[in-house]
Symmetry: C2
Subunit: 289 residues, 2 copies
């Protein structure tokens, strides 16, 4: 099965759990709305890419880890879009969950997706029970306290915030969880894979800034120009498009240099180069090539 | 260490994780506010009571399971109290989290507490890695979809809801998770412990209805008479105080009859009797004795 199919199939299996007879149907519909149709699936593809580079000898656990990371990412989007944060009307080209289902169900769908990530992991652990704690720890730490994406989001509620800490937690933490979970699912020590994830997270942030600054709303499925409108920090606004592109290239190179040595390293490096290219808005891909 | 100390110490260790240097301090404060000072800790005491009746040969895992169940319960209170649901001003005798810290931090503190439950479990699994998946599955299923407490809460957003299904999911599911997690942490098959938890959950619901109907706000640390004011179903309003007390006694007996046989069964039965007594408002304990 190819990477996309493995991810979509693991996510579909998870969301099906919400649709059992006797479960509240609108909650299940809100969860499905949050997870499908797919976005770029950047993080779960990273889980599987690293698992593949590490031998991927427990593919069911790797697929569940990939699904868990994506479910947690979807949960964070649902909650971040809510009126008390971004109050976003659209996401992935359609109404945000709270616009489609109301704030109460958006709150609960996010909660249920967080729990579902761990339910999916636990169910997949039968094939490799001794690896579950490591996979669960790196994924939990990438989302929760002290330095996961929920902590990152919480910096928006602090009187004083360190911008680089904010971005590292809000975006980088789940990328680091993705690389480490891929390694842990394949039975390797996860820590050496952290730096790769952190650098990719930073690169992704710059790519996201570029898309917000010069991208096309129809292509992205969400409004553009939000950072300028809301006065949020944005690398493309701060250093110009050329400066941000140069920074992105530098971060991609640094990420590839951070891949722990092994037989899978060259293939993973090539995959990451291709991925970085894919993340750019169409009108910039010629320049970045 | 006695039961209360084991629970408080496991919870304190978990919440400390949020207070690491470099983490957002107001998020950590909101989480601490949600977990301390302690409420009745009914569910984690049930985890440890069942673990004890099953031999409790992995006490660190049992304590982490107890803490996880309580963290998830606290998370659900934080989110249920928010303006889009109950809009409650007070909880456990002090301001609710959203009143003290605002809705954005209440949303994030609830999210972080959900994740923290699984982080705590993963960290405790070193002593019994082969038991982690079972403990995690029963706890995850008690909270998430299709029939956990988040699903229970979601029935408030459905056009048509089955009241008994709503109550079983909203309250009973986490009680069943507590009894099953206690058994799983002690290495036993969890399923035979489900019925005990479900019956205790139902008994707890009746006791809660009694406290809302005839309790004292200062004793409970939350407003009373809310069910009558909001037109919510309440056993004491439906069957009178005597009727509700009789129902509570019947459910307690049925719960005790559901304890799977074993050397720990008589002790657990006595503990449950004492617990049921404790749950009643002070002015009713003479009648219930």
């Amino acid at each position: 099965m190819d990477t996309v199919s493995r991810i979509e199939s693991a996510l579909a299996d998870s969301v099906l759990l919400a649709e059992a007879a006797g479960a509240p149907p609108r909650l299940a519909a809100a969860m499905r709305h949050a997870v499908f149709p797919r976005g770029a699936r950047v993080r779960p593809r990273l889980v599987l890419a690293v698992a593949g580079a590490c031998g991927d000898d427990r593919p069911a656990l790797a697929a569940a880890a990939a699904a868990a990371v994506e479910l947690l990412h979807c949960a964070s989007l649902v909650h971040d879009d809510m009126p008390c944060f971004d109050d976003a009307d659209t996401r992935r080209g359609k109404p945000s969950v709270h616009r489609a289902f109301g704030a109460p169900l958006a709150l609960l769908a996010g909660d249920a997706l967080i729990v579902l990530a761990f339910q999916a992991l636990a169910r997949a652990a039968a094939t490799a029970p001794e690896r579950l704690a490591a996979v669960m720890t790196v994924i939990g730490d990438g989302v929760g306290v002290p330095f996961g994406i929920v902590a990152g989001q919480a910096w928006e509620c602090e009187p004083r915030a360190d911008l680089s800490e904010y971005q590292r937690q809000k975006t980088g933490a789940l990328f680091a969880a993705a690389t480490m979970a891929g390694a842990a699912a394949a039975g390797l020590e996860p820590e050496p894979w952290r730096l790769l994830g952190e650098r990719l997270g930073e690169a992704y942030q710059v790519a996201d800034d570029l898309r917000d600054a010069v991208g096309d709303a129809a292509e992205l499925g969400k409004p553009v120009g939000r950072d300028a409108a809301l006065g949020r920090p944005n690398a493309a606004l701060a250093c110009g498009v050329e400066g941000a592109l140069a920074r992105l290239r530098g971060l991609a190179d640094a990420a590839i240099a951070a891949i722990p040595p092994g037989p899978g390293a060259p293939g993973l490096g090539a995959l990451i180069q291709a991925e970085m290219h894919r993340l750019l808005p169409a009108k910039l891909t010629q320049k970045a090539a």
